[in-house]
Subunit: 198 residues, 2 copies
């Protein structure tokens, strides 16, 4: 099966609907999904941003929250704006890297649903342990492995790879042929492109 | 008929496919289009940008040009990247304000097609005169009126109105109920929203 790379950042709002939709949308087309967590912070820092552009540019931020609410309504996804944005996403990203396959996907969806569907803060060890359990993974094993030097290095390497691929935002999608698509609103196009073998 | 405001900036790349598609897409739904030219430059300057963000952030710019090419291919629109970007759009915007109704729409489409379908520079009086003729308007009348104090003030007022509406990019769409949509990829959603009377 052709495989689409799905690059996501746990603090990214538009990654939420993409993460919730991509599994079923890919399966319908016979496309496999490679879940690739990374950090946008270092890439934003390259551009001189020390905060989310949605906070730096208030008109853009106000628009994004309303747009996200409309998108969630259209897809039947729960939406609750978290009190804190953006959230510290590094621990969640490291845990996701410890997991693989369906476990990584299930945990990632659970983190997004908690953050943007329930308004939770996903930064801490306790909430992440709970979300691991709720997604069917082993909390103790994943949490312990997540703070190893190896996993820390793997997340830095994933972020460097994203930068090399020209990724500047999340969600981003990379087809086997090297076409890059950015944004939840490009998910279907990226899957169609992958399925068609272009 | 319900009326959708279409806010566009002649230097904006993604406004090109929106301008070429909106007439037919709106007519199919029984929606009227209010063509609202404005300038993004002063709004970008509010955010500290003295150039297009597609030039300031090279990864975003490289992505945008490829994305625009794909969009044009999907819609069957000619695409040719102009040598200069962004282009000085103030004269075209003033001329558009002198025109009204179908003449404004036809001239605006012709300017976009010349710039992004043929790679032309649309800054100067000669090319704008030609584009006026080609769109069926009277070149002499429109060009003369465009540099009046009244029209200059009207363009400043349009840009101030865009800013007050929370517009931060182009194309943007405003429904009768006050819903703002940003981006060519939101055109159909904005039209559906307008047609449904929400």
């Amino acid at each position: 099966m052709p495989k689409l790379q799905f690059w996501y950042e746990f603090a990214s709002t538009y990654s939420y609907p993409a993460a919730m939709r991509i599994g079923e949308a890919a399966a319908r087309r016979g496309v496999e999904v490679d879940w690739r967590p990374f950090l946008l912070g270092p890439i934003f820092a390259d551009q001189g941003w020390r905060d989310s552009p949605f906070n730096i540019y208030p008109a853009k931020g106000a628009y994004m929250w309303r747009d996200l609410e409309r998108i969630c309504e259209a897809y039947g996804l729960p939406f609750r704006r978290p009190a804190l944005f953006p959230q510290r996403s590094v621990s969640a990203a490291r845990i996701a890297l410890v997991l693989s396959g369906d476990e990584r996907a299930a945990f990632s969806r659970r983190v997004y649903a908690a953050q943007f569907g329930e308004g939770a803060n996903i930064a801490g060890a306790a909430v992440l342990g709970r979300l691991l359990s709720e997604s069917g993974a082993d909390p103790a094993g994943a949490s312990a492995g997540a703070e190893s030097d190896e996993v820390r290095a793997a997340l830095r390497e994933a972020t460097d790879e994203a930068r090399r691929l020209g990724i500047f935002g999340a969600p981003s999608f990379l087809t086997p042929g090297g076409e890059l698509f950015w944004g939840d609103d490009r998910l279907d196009q990226a899957l169609d492109w992958t399925a068609s073998g272009r």
